[in-house]
């Protein structure tokens, strides 16, 4: 790993190009560096100091030595003295005694001088003025004139001393006072503590502690009485003015008197002005007195506040103006206090007057203006403008719908169930009637829906086309059946397919599927072609073989040649095959479609397919309930498919048609009981013909009379068709007893039998 480093100048150049300051040269002045410097300095200082101390000590030592040596100066003991050469012992002793005495006297004199000096110094400083400001713990009255008392400092704790200062007391006097207090307390103890009047508390201003009767004066409490020694005034007064007054500085008053003064100041005056009205609201002054609130700085809301203030002042002024009105009512009242009554009356008057609003001219003008604007608004709303409300919308909707309804609907398959048909039915039984009612309702609804649908379809067309089609189809309508036809299966496969499509059983493929199928067919074709080709090739090979066989006879054509040729041929053929395959596979897109089929041939969707798979995997199918449910579902689907696509499940429409034909009228009489029969006269004309039969109670289509029964009747072909359809739709119905509405067809009765004999019987199936 090579180290990449730049020189100092290079580094500075880079830094300048980047916009940084150039490098700082020298030792870093970081905090550690600073600390080191400090340390160094500190050490240096210490060293210096140590050095100085040493020097000083040396000097002192030398000085000491000198001094010591000084004492050593003079003659030593061993040396002979100057004045005495004889060595006289007596003289020496006398001299030495004298010296001793001198020394002593000198010392004594020195000592005395010093003491004297001290005394003088103290004596000189201390005089009367030094006593100024000291407190004395006794009352001035205790000291008699000319008495001499010795005062000592009072004992106190350090804190108290710091706070209060020194206090001088006389011990005997304090003791005496204490004794007196204790005696008093003892006397007091005998008296009961509680007195009804708690005057002491109020007068003295001091609250008594609990069980204060047992308090003993111990001599350590602070006394309140006393005086402070003042500065001596050296004017003629002399010492008299040196004592100041009592300590509390109250100006000669006792505590009691002070309390009294205080109470007097704070006393509340109970007098009141009777004639002054009792007002509900505080005046400004009262409010200020009672609710003293620290006024905060008012912000720039002053405008609004000013308005209110003005109004308030106005009101106040108005009220005040009214006050000095003449009092006449007082003469009428015979109550004692006239002034009071007067004021009450005034108040009453004011209250009543307040309810009546005084309209100032400005107010009147404003009211007028407001009313005018209101009127203008109302006018505006009445004329011109579009009013949209629920009612208007509904009406407009009706109008539009009725206009569309006028254009007749294009006859489509499902719109032929008109209301007149419904009206013409008559049910044989009550139950049938009920059923039919419900069915009628359903059909009615259907009819309505279809009408709506037809209406929408009509809207999308042009009016002309509608008119033309209308004319055309009206002609056709007479010939066509009211009920739409179901295409016959017997006609052919095409019609079968059409029927299935109508029923919805057939799923027509969409474009994608068509494409798919196209591709598949192409592929199949190609495969077929390929097979053909292969077949052809095989034939060719056989031919070639045959040819080769012939060639064998040729002598020049050796075996090797033959083999060579064969090889070539094979190769070529293979090449061809491969090329073909490649060309086919070029745009090969596998199209895979998985379809699942169950046992009975139904196509399964993914869910059912998976269920099939899991049943097979686990080896157990669903239980009884589940399978029954499934079976039921499948059955229902089948029945759905087999239902008639153009009629109700009960075949009501066709039944109604038949009934109509049988009755010969467009209406159906709904009757109960035996009266639901077709009148005999009509029945005669119709009995020959096929009558519509309804299997009551069955949800399936009707079975028609045997086609053999059909005789040439006045019925048009549509009716036959209708019957035919009914026969088809009723394929699944079991052979039920064929019952007409009230008419029971006698089985195999003679064609020419009297129809009147056929008793109209009602049957219930």
């Amino acid at each position: 790993m090579s180290e990449n480093s730049v020189s100092f100048e290079e580094a500075n150049r880079i830094r300048l190009s980047l916009g940084l300051k150039p490098l700082k040269v020298g030792p870093e002045t970081s905090s550690t560096q600073i600390a080191e410097d400090n340390m160094k300095r500190h050490r240096e200082d210490e060293a210096k100091r140590a050095h100085e101390d040493k020097v000083k000590s040396r000097i002192a030592k030398s000085k000491n030595k000198l001094e010591l040596n000084k004492t050593m100066s003079g003659k030593g003991l061993g040396e002979a003295s100057d004045d005495d050469d004889d060595g006289d012992l007596y003289k020496w002793t006398m001299k030495s005694r004298k010296k001793e005495k001198e020394r002593q006297t000198a010392a004594a004199a020195k000592r005395e001088k010093e003491l004297q000096e001290l005394d003088d110094s103290y004596q000189a400083e201390y005089d009367e003025d030094h006593l100024a400001g000291l407190r004395v713990g006794h009352d001035m009255s205790d000291f008699a004139e000319g008495e001499e008392r010795i005062l000592t400092l009072k004992d106190s704790t350090i804190l108290e001393n710091e706070e209060e200062g020194d206090e001088l007391i006389n011990i005997q006097m304090t003791e005496q006072q204490r004794l007196e207090k204790n005696l008093e307390n003892k006397k007091k103890k005998n008296r009961p503590v509680y007195s009804a009047y708690d005057d002491d508390e109020f007068t003295s201003g001091k609250k008594k502690n609990l069980l204060s009767q047992y308090d003993e004066v111990l001599g350590t409490e602070q006394g309140n009485d006393g005086f402070v020694i003042g500065k001596a005034r050296k004017v003629n007064r002399g010492g008299a003015g040196s004592l100041a007054g009592p300590s509390s500085g109250n100006g000669g008053l006792t505590a009691k008197e002070i309390m009294n003064q205080k109470l007097k100041e704070s006393a509340i005056d109970l007098t009141y002005n009777k004639t002054q009205q009792a007002q509900d609201y505080y005046t400004k002054d009262e409010a200020e007195i009672t609710f003293k609130k620290s006024k905060k700085k008012k912000k720039s809301r002053s405008r609004k506040a000013d308005n209110w203030d003005e109004e308030g002042d106005q009101d106040g002024d108005a009220m005040e103006v009214e006050r000095p009105e003449p009092v006449d009512i007082s003469e009428l009242n015979f109550v004692d206090d006239e002034d009071l009554q007067a004021s009450l009356a005034k108040a009453r008057r004011l209250a009543t007057k307040k309810t009546i609003k005084k309209l100032t001219p400005e107010q009147i003008a404003k009211n007028l203006a407001e009313s005018k604007t209101m009127e203008v608004e109302e006018d505006f709303s009445e004329r011109g403008g579009l009013v949209i409300s629920d009612v208007s919308e509904f009406v407009s909707n009706l109008a539009s719908s009725s206009a569309v309804h006028a254009a007749p609907a294009r006859p489509t398959q499902a719109t032929r169930e008109d209301s007149p048909e419904l009206a013409s039915t008559s049910s044989p039984t009550v139950a049938e009637k009920a059923q039919e009612d419900t069915v009628m309702e359903d059909t009615k609804e259907e009819a309505e829906e279809d009408n709506i649908r037809s209406r929408t379809r009509a809207e999308s067309e042009e009016a002309e086309d509608i008119a033309m089609k209308e004319s055309k189809e009206s002609e056709q309508a007479e010939h066509e059946a009211v009920l739409a036809e179901e295409p016959l299966v017997s006609r052919g496969l095409g019609s079968t397919l059409a029927l299935l499509k109508q029923k919805g059983a057939l799923e027509m493929g969409n474009a994608e599927q068509a494409e798919r199928s196209k591709i598949q067919s192409e592929r199949a074709k190609w495969l077929a072609d390929a097979r053909l080709r292969e077949a052809r090739l095989a034939k060719e090979m056989a031919q070639a073989k045959a040819r080769d066989k012939d060639k064998v006879r040729d002598k020049n054509y050796s075996i090797r040649d033959r083999d060579r040729d064969r090889e070539h041929e094979n190769q070529r053929r293979e090449q061809q095959l491969l090329d073909e395959r490649e060309s086919r596979m070029k745009n090969y897109q596998p199209d895979v479609k998985l379809e699942y089929i169950d046992d009975s041939g139904n196509r399964l969707n993914t869910k059912e397919a998976f269920r099939q798979l899991s049943h097979a995997f686990h080896g157990k199918t669903s239980g009884k309930m589940k399978t029954e449910k499934r079976m039921k579902k499948l059955e229902d689907e089948k029945r759905l498919l087999s239902m008639s696509s153009t009629d109700t499940p009960l075949g009501m429409a066709s039944a109604f048609q038949e009934r109509q034909k049988a009755a010969g009228s467009a209406h159906i009489v709904l009757a109960v009981g035996n009266r639901n029969a077709v009148p005999a006269s009509l029945a005669s004309s119709t009995v020959g013909g096929t009558t519509s039969t309804l299997a009551s109670g069955s949800g399936l289509g009707t079975t028609s009379a045997a086609p053999a029964r059909s005789q040439p009747s006045s019925f048009s072909t549509p009716s036959q068709n209708a019957q035919a359809t009914m026969s088809i739709s009723g394929v699944h119905a079991p052979n039920r007893e064929k019952v007409a509405f009230g008419l029971k067809r006698k089985a195999e009765a003679a064609p020419g039998s009297n129809p009147e004999e056929t008793a109209p019987k009602k049957t219930r199936n």
């Binding site: 790993m1 180290e3 480093s5 100092f8 580094a11 880079i14 980047l18 490098l23 700082k24 870093e28």
Partner: protein, 73 residues
Amino acid sequence: MIEVICNDRLGKKVRVKCNGDDTVGDLKKLIAAQTGTNWEKIILKKWYTIYKDHITLDDYEIHDGMSIELYYN
């Protein structure tokens, strides 16, 4: 002036001269100038401590001769 060693452990090792009161961002710029990368792509780390751009080297207590790991993002 301190000299900081930035090592890539992939072959890039640079000695960068800078001041103690330079920020880490400035240091990254110097490194970029010497190595030829984009300074915004450089990440300086010490074990798992990532050095933030706005803090000075002094505050990070990066002294003369210290090694810093060089990464890229």
